[in-house]
């Protein structure tokens, strides 16, 4: 039986890792901070998947980002999905050859469906994750692209129906309103998923503690939960949350986290 997942999302901006609240970004630390003070090599053994989003708004440096992706890959033995500014198959190819297993796209959904088809043709549908940023305005679920700057004139439900016609492997459904608040996932988002939607859904935006994972993972329409909250799950936060979910007999993959240290340079 396929397992559900707890995903950690890293937001990257020109060499720094960011904390986001309602899509406004705050610098937290660089690669060295992530590795040493944040103890990433330890945390990475308590997640089922890693998502790295390059949220750099201007002057993206692709080479340095790829270098950092390779460094993160050295310490995470889980599937890695990477996104941010992917506009053509060539960019996706570089990411997938640097340790990424999946490419996350967002704005490309309105800018160039042809490029989506090309990526799927070369690497398969399973490697495309469509990220969908949602904001509630006057009670309507509106869809935003371009780093949450441009509103699309279409309902969330319809947007998801369109996505279902494309070769997309997963949907990353993110609430801008809850992003970084720690108030919990926007459960109403789940109700907006069309009936018989066949693409796995990752719910994101708002997780602040373990019980937030629990309340949405119970829903069969949610395949995975993601958190980008660097501070709420610092230290043993993710490890404990994961263990609690396993104790509650949630269908997550099982491995011995404590072996990570023993296995390093064990030969």
């Amino acid at each position: 039986m396929l397992k559900k997942r707890v995903i950690f999302t890293l937001l990257y901006d020109k060499g720094h890792f960011m904390l986001s609240r309602n899509f406004s970004l705050q610098k937290v630390g660089n690669m060295q901070w992530l590795k040493k003070n944040y103890n990433f090599s330890h945390i990475s053994f308590s997640i089922d998947e890693l998502i790295i989003l390059d949220v750099t708004r201007e002057d993206r440096n692709e080479e340095i980002f790829l270098e950092h992706l390779r460094l993160l890959n050295d310490e995470s033995f889980v599937p890695i999905a990477v996104g941010g500014g992917i506009r053509e198959v060539d960019q996706a190819r570089k990411l997938l050859h640097s340790g990424a297993d999946k490419a996350v796209i967002n704005t490309l959904l309105i800018e160039d469906v042809g490029a989506i088809l090309e990526i799927a043709e070369e690497f398969g549908q399973q490697c495309l994750v469509a990220s969908v940023d949602v904001k509630i305005i006057n009670g309507d679920f509106t869809v935003w692209t371009h780093n949450g700057k441009v509103m699309q004139n279409i309902s969330l439900n319809k947007w998801l129906e369109n996505i279902a016609t494309l070769p997309i492997g997963e949907v990353y459904l993110n609430s801008i309103d809850r992003d970084g608040t720690g108030h919990g996932y926007l459960i109403e988002l789940i109700e907006q998923i069309p009936d018989l939607f066949s693409i796995p859904v990752i719910l994101a935006g708002g997780a602040g503690k373990y019980s937030h994972f629990l309340e949405v993972l119970q829903d069969e329409r949610v395949d995975a939960v993601a958190t980008a909250n660097l501070l709420n799950f610092v230290g043993d936060g993710l490890k404990k949350s994961r263990q609690e979910l396993l104790n509650a007999e949630f269908n997550l993959p099982v491995w011995d986290v404590n072996l990570a240290t023993d296995l390093k340079n064990c030969l």
Partner: protein, 208 residues
């Protein structure tokens, strides 16, 4: 014990970077090769791979990598681990694009999942799923009961009448998830993406 040197075969279709990271984490030395001579001179071979069986075999045959792999494994007793497509390529043939012959180190065949078999489940089979292991020794030593591993595939190897240690996985239909037949090993899943379970298995492989 001296540090093992792992020779990863690069034929342009592998997730070589991640496979190499995992072996380095364990403390192994890694070299990446795409030349028959280097394959013959190796002591531990890894054949990774993601993508089309036919394209992979065309490339491998064109460079005569298949002959080098067969000689290294059958004449020199070099151990080999095929991962994902690499595991399938070690089989006799695949039903992809009609019928394509594999390297043929083991007799098992590769066929696509049919939607009838997987019953309302999606193809490809993507995500963590559990193994059923016939004997927890060798490649499968020290793994938990129903160990979870990360899979991404639309084709799978048939169990056949396999001799040796092996594991199956169920995705509506039972398929061969991993095998250890003397010095020939394969995993349909990605050990390099399967947390400590995967690292334990790669360590087991190096210590066979």
């Amino acid at each position: 014990m001296s540090i093992p040197k792992v020779t990863i075969i690069d034929y342009g279709m592998g997730n070589i970077f991640s496979v190499s990271s995992a072996f380095k984490y364990l403390g192994a030395e890694v070299e990446i090769v795409s030349d028959p001579e280097e394959i013959l001179n190796s002591s531990i071979l890894v054949l990774p791979g993601v993508g089309s069986f036919r394209n992979a075999m065309e490339f491998i045959k064109e460079r005569k990598l298949d002959e080098a792999i067969i000689d290294a494994v059958t004449k020199k007793g070099v151990k080999i681990l095929g991962i994902c497509l690499g595991m399938q390529l070690l089989g006799s043939h695949s039903s992809e694009n009609g019928k394509t012959a594999g390297i043929g180190l083991i007799p098992n065949q590769v066929e696509r999942f049919t939607s009838k078999e997987v019953y309302e489940r999606k193809i490809p089979h993507v995500g963590f799923n559990s193994l059923h292991i016939n004997e927890k020794q060798g490649l499968f030593k020290d793994l938990p009961h129903l160990a979870d591993f990360y899979f991404v595939h639309s084709y799978r190897m048939l169990v056949g009448d396999i001799q040796g240690r092996y594991a199956t996985c169920n995705y509506g239909v039972e398929f061969l998830a991993a095998y250890e037949i003397e010095n020939i090993c394969g995993t349909q899943f990605h050990p390099e993406k399967s947390q400590t379970n995967g690292l334990v298995m790669l360590k087991n492989f190096l210590q066979l």
